[in-house]
Subunit: 257 residues, 2 copies
């Protein structure tokens, strides 16, 4: 079972070429978004994160030349299932290994991911539909704007989980206890209020089928800085493939309030 | 009563020259630590803060040329009661107005302050001895080390409040709800465990008299980056005088979880 794997074993598989969403993998271990940019843009990214802590909670920063760190006993260039390479506002490649594009002057940000609290949701009896359905979580660009930082601006990106109406309050209180991995939802109910026209057409990830009586619940998403580097046309940014996260050696409970 | 003043009125007095600790001023408004450094060291300070969020919760960053911002409708160079100017690891001046030393390339960090939750402590029935005694809060350099960031390293600095033994639990749970302004205590009880030899000889602020049955309770303190710029011998850093904070226009409740 992938849920029972140790992070190092999971990363071994990804390093060997497996590309797959990581929701449900390595239960109890923290998953992270990746965004790596040239050093000259690192200040803007760190400041953007500080100004938009809900979508961009920084778990760690790897400085130029560092490939692992306090929460990663591995290699950030190879240990994710999938990467995206962005140049001048275009998505130019989706490799399963980023070494071809990596440069010595890249600063890598590891940003909290809502997969971290899914295990706690399940433990509290809240079903997680996309795990049930073996799919990636659906993610959407919204019409809410992030606070700008230097060259970086962009929309808030959210992930969505359909939650049975009588468990929405539980989902809120469970996730509120994880402020470093997006915390409580940013919106509950009508997707139109976030400018989302069609839940079946996510901007990232897969559509997910709600069950009868489910309400859509939206959390801030660590794909937000990806949308910002695209919109802001940074010359180079290497990120994870949405839903295909870095599985770190940190424990979910490290981020439990 | 200074507790009832609006922040703009308090800042007016400080701008006019009043130098005084701000604990208890402008009840309900958030107070902040200041650290301003040349742009070339700003990355290290922001990364140091990210790596040491308990002592260094960043509330806002003013970029070069910005003298106010989202939480300050004023002038960061004049609106604090007192400043410290540090050069190459030495404290060189303690002016009540920093304009003489300010430079256009300075980046100013506004960092959360535990004065923010003192009003909540009082509201929960926890006495705050240094307010009762009309003194500055006592602060101590500890033997705990912060995580290093680039050129910046230093000790954890803590503030101490004596709390009646039967109210320690209340003090913990009240302050835990303010994670952006240092949150729950880092230590309760024996000061020797933090390497503090004598509570009556604080490194910053004033000694405070405990009442019978009080236990010393220690919170991470926003003076921590001051200790780091001194130890790390940055060429220039302008900070607040410990205990003489920037009173912002943000509400304490903005930082309540």
């Amino acid at each position: 079972m992938t849920a029972d794997l140790a992070p190092a074993r999971a990363r071994e598989r990804f390093r060997a070429g497996l590309s797959i969403p990581t929701s449900g993998w390595c239960a109890g271990y923290t998953q992270a978004n990746l965004i790596a940019v040239p050093r000259e843009y690192a200040w803007d990214v760190l400041l953007f994160s500080q100004r938009n802590p809900k979508p961009c909670p920084v778990l760690d920063v790897l400085e130029p030349g560092e490939l692992g760190g306090a929460i990663l006993d591995g290699d950030v260039r190879t240990d994710l299932p999938g990467y995206r390479v962005h140049r001048d506002g275009e998505l130019v490649d989706r490799p399963s290994d980023a070494r071809e594009y990596w440069r010595d002057d890249l600063v890598a940000f590891l940003i909290g991911c809502s997969f971290t609290f899914e295990n706690a949701l399940l433990g509290a009896g809240v079903p997680v539909r996309h795990i049930e359905q073996g799919r990636n979580v659906p993610m959407y660009r919204t019409t809410r704007r992030c606070r700008t930082a230097g060259r970086l601006s962009g929309p808030l990106v959210v992930s969505m989980r359909p939650v049975p109406a009588d468990l929405v309050e539980t989902a809120v209180s469970v996730t509120a206890r994880y402020p470093q991995v997006h915390g409580a939802p940013v919106h509950i109910g009508d997707p139109a209020e976030l400018g989302i026209a069609d839940l079946d057409a996510p901007d990232y990830g897969d559509p997910v089928r709600p069950a009868e009586g489910d309400v859509p619940v939206f959390w801030a998403c660590g794909v937000t800085p990806q949308a910002a580097v695209l919109e802001s046309r940074l010359p180079l940014a290497i990120t994870h493939e949405p839903g295909q996260m870095l599985i770190t050696d940190a424990r979910d409970t490290d981020y439990l309030l």
